[in-house]
């Protein structure tokens, strides 16, 4: 598959994982300081094929298969980034990122601050995350809040092939450390033609996917799919939803969210992650403290349960479904 358009033409329809691959190709062509590292990313092209063909195109010096140690991968990226390289590391599944947390939280997020800008950590750590693909234990959780809670990090989650392309380019060019979480349930769920013009998308602005007057639906990642489906269904019943993909979950673009809720007076947050101390909690709290007098109804949250992610036979019962979003919106609409 040749997706290496050199001019700003539309590609053939691409999946999100192909869009990630396309962005990596472009970033590596543009900047010799971009180096990829991770487990099985070389000849194998990554277990999801996000790095397919990159070894052939850029060689083993720039597409590095590492020993099997996530902590080591994160520690290496910190050292590489302090010297001006732009490492893009792949953690094979987010469920295996925990050994890397010390380097991400204690070093990557702090290096610029700790040295008052003398050194920085312009690194990207990519990880597929979330449920819905019938995976084994530890392969399905949504733990973005752990990173969103850490000052100094940017946490970015795309929800479509085009946004994966533009946001990943932005993440790689960003002078700050970026945790780039790829919702694997929608890796191949739909294809989209991509404008391969090298344009990055902003990391400080939410994307308003649909405008509406009655209620604001706020979501990110794979749940955008169900959120848009709910908005379609509700529109047929006469309820206009404004749908916002926050995309960068930290630091959050509060202004766009507050402006929308002050317009609609209603807010429903949809997330796959457990509810307790989540990104959705922060958004709900923000609405309570900064938009209370614009609200016409309590803020609603449709979340994963505060349980361990069940093995896959029950995962559909864990993950929010379209009808739950529809119900939450209708309950919200009952307040006048």
């Amino acid at each position: 598959m040749n997706t290496l358009a050199t001019t700003a033409q539309l590609t053939e329809p691409l999946s999100m994982v192909d869009a990630v691959n396309l962005a990596l190709h472009r970033a590596m062509r543009e900047d010799a300081d971009v180096v990829l590292l991770g487990e099985d990313i070389g000849p194998n092209g990554g277990v999801f094929r996000a790095t397919a063909d990159l070894r052939t195109a850029f060689g083993e010096k720039r597409v590095i298969d590492t020993p099997l140690a996530e902590n080591m991968i994160a520690g290496l990226t910190v050292g590489m980034a302090t010297q001006g390289l732009k490492p893009v590391a792949e953690i094979q599944f987010m469920g295996f990122i925990f050994p890397a947390m010390e380097h991400i939280i204690c070093h990557a997020a702090r290096m610029r601050n700790r040295t008052r800008g003398r050194l920085s950590c312009p690194l990207v750590i990519r990880a597929p995350f979330g449920g819905g693909i019938h995976a084994p234990e530890h392969h399905s959780e949504s733990t973005e809040a752990l990173f969103a809670h850490t000052p100094g990090l940017r946490v970015v989650i795309p929800s479509s092939p085009q946004r994966a392309y533009g946001l990943l380019l932005a993440a790689i060019r960003c002078p700050d450390p970026v945790i780039f979480l790829e919702p694997k349930r929608i890796y191949r769920s739909h294809n989209q033609q991509i404008k391969d013009d090298g344009e990055a998308l902003p990391l400080d602005t939410c994307f308003t996917l649909r405008e509406g007057q009655d209620v604001t639906l706020i979501s990110w990642g794979a749940m955008i799919k169900e959120t848009l489906a709910a908005a379609d269904q509700l529109l047929s019943e006469g309820i206009e939803c404004e749908v916002i993909d926050i995309a960068t979950v930290s630091p959050l673009d509060r202004d766009t969210l507050l402006a929308s809720v002050s317009k609609t007076g209603r807010c429903v947050i949809v997330q796959e992650a457990p509810q307790n101390c989540s990104v959705g909690s922060e958004i709900a709290s923000m609405m309570a403290t900064e938009a209370l007098f614009d609200l016409r109804a309590p803020v609603a949250r449709v979340s994963g349960y505060d349980t361990v992610m069940p093995y896959f036979r029950l995962e559909q019962h864990y993950m929010p479904q379209t009808d739950q979003i529809v119900t939450a919106v209708k309950q919200t609409m009952e307040f006048s």
């Binding site: 180096v35 010096k61 590492t66 020993p67 140690a69 902590n71 080591m72 994160a74 520690g75 290496l76 990226t77 910190v78 050292g79 590489m80 980034a81 302090t82 010297q83 001006g84 390289l85 490492p87 050994p99 010390e102 380097h103 204690c106 070093h107 610029r112 601050n113 700790r114 040295t115 008052r116 800008g117 003398r118 050194l119 920085s120 000052p151 100094g152 940017r154 960003c174 002078p175 700050d176 400080d204 630091p251 959050l252 673009d253 509060r254 202004d255």
Partner: protein
Amino acid sequence: MKTQYEGKITLTEYLAPSGELLHPLPDTAPDRETLLRYYEKMVLARQFDNKAIALQRTGQLGTYASLAGSEAIDVVTALQMTQSDVLVPYYRNHIMQHLRGMDLADVLLYWGGDERGNSAEAQHQDLPNCVPIATQCLHACGVATAIKYREEARAVVTVLGDGATSKGDFLEALNVAGIWQLPVVFIINNNQWAISVPRALQTIAPTLAQKALGAGIRGEQVDGNDVFAMHERVSQALERARSGKGPTVIEAVSYRLSDHTTADDATRYRSPDALKTGWEREPIKRLQTYLHQQGAWDAEQEQALQNTVADAIQQAVDRYLATPAQPVASMFEHLYAEMPRSLRQQRDIAVAREEETS
């Protein structure tokens, strides 16, 4: 049964605790001028350490990690490095940082609770102090990966304590340094203590250096109180790194002559006899005795050096104490390359509070 692998760990030592030579010196031994420079900087390290502890005891410095006992390791290693090499220190390498360009006032500023101690351009690409144990070993490998990627003839030096050898970061670093043949030198300052836990409780392995063998890389022991031994082994390890011959682990055997930090009280767990033995082997007296015996040093020179060093340290202390605190807004700066809007609001609140309360 076939023997698949046999390893050995050597110990390099030249100068006995008495100041006598154990063996004839090799041709590559440091000349008199170099020895005097080592001595001078070791005296500086010791005086600085005493001054920093005194500042902490009088409420003018935060918790401070003493370097006492590691003067030979740190001074010889730092002076063997070139400016283009990179130092990835832990939190006890104050004199190494200084010898590579950092103002002692900045060292104090760091321990005085001010991030600007890490910010001076004079530190070039060296990493700042690393507090989480052993994590710096992987950063050193990352720095070395960047150097190797750019095909530069530079070495990376990282320093760790004996306790750090028990952590996965250290072992993962050795492993990747071996596979990728990274230009990195790991210096273990084996000072026998990880706060209160003695070396014998870290591992049953008779040496720490042999952990290198498991990663397929070179490991060796050196008497860390012996400038001749340190000079020879560190210079060879650096040369190997710079010429693409891969990593080295040097276990420098020394003794922590201080408490772990000023927040520690080693009398709770360490016998006076053990400490006394430590002082009998310490590096500065050992070199001084040798220099005396060689006719290269006398009491008058000693007094002049002590005075010069004391003046230099006092000047650094004066600069440190005269440094005004950062404004409150500084905690919001340098977190991101560009301050997020949400953070600007919090900064404004903090600044307003600062103005109200000042």
